[in-house]
Amino acid sequence: MRWFWIDRFTEFKSGSHATAIKNVTLAEEHLHDHLPGFPVMPASLMLEGMAQTGGILLGESNQFAHIVILAKVPKMTFHSWACPGDSLLYSAKLIQQSDEGGMVEVKAHVGERLVAEGEIVFAHVDDAANGGAKIDQKNFVFQILRNVMDVGKAGNGTGA
């Protein structure tokens, strides 16, 4: 299993905003115990999905020149839940960015229903910040996540 908590981007406007979809399925093991008899997507994993959407948005705006890590979640409110069969739509809006990092506003919806909203702050971690030592980028979720950018390249199956 890979640490992908978004399935596909459905909209990507470089340096501005992005939306990604996460289809919740009963095949996911965490839903077997969370919660017994009432399978719902854990809030922490929804937060991770929103952070992945926003993190890629920030990283792409710098052509992935920086390693982006989640630094802080100043605000996050969960209004509702998502269960197997739901499609969670995560949206992220880039509101601030600098050489040091960036900040996004995020929301999660199932259809018209608002499930969560909040803010996430990211920091850039670079070789310079690591005392000049080379960072092993393979260990970073962020690098693996860039693969999500490739999803959809196979087309939609219609051959169009």
């Binding site: 802080k72 509101i95 601030q96 960036g102």
Partner: protein, 132 residues
């Protein structure tokens, strides 16, 4: 031009949002770390919010020059700020409280540098920047 009081109110709102505080916890003399519980990553958040709320750009290290005291800077030695470091602080932090810098010059332990980062320092910085 915004008055100092208007700037203070906006800075207070910024800190309440960034640090999850109650409004009455924030005073001019509050130290961001020791009194308001800010951690290093909060400074990035605070700078982002100030930029957004005041519609300005704050260049890296201009407001909170945290990286001043790296090992090879010559500004710190054996956990203490050197005379050169104190001189640098006076130049780089004209918005800091003068008395606190004098206190630091007398007791230059490096952890005391954080005491310079107060709500008033942020307000002074913004007042100069917005009215300068």
């Amino acid at each position: 031009m915004p008055s100092r009081d208007e700037i203070f109110e906006k800075v207070k709102t910024t800190l309440v949002d960034a640090l999850g505080l109650d409004e009455d916890e924030v005073n001019g003399s509050s130290r961001l770390k020791a009194d308001l519980g800010a951690e290093s990553i909060d400074f990035l958040d605070i700078v982002f919010r100030l930029e957004k709320n005041f519609g300005i750009k704050i260049p890296r290290n201009e407001l909170f020059p945290e990286s001043l005291f790296t090992a090879d800077s010559g500004f710190a030695e054996n956990g203490r700020v050197t005379d050169k470091g104190i001189a640098e602080l006076r130049t780089r932090l004209p918005h800091a409280d003068k008395d606190t810098i004098e206190a630091l010059a007398k007791d230059p332990r490096i952890e005391n540098v954080e005491d310079l980062f107060t709500v008033n320092m942020v307000v002074n910085f913004l007042t100069a920047k917005l009215n300068g």
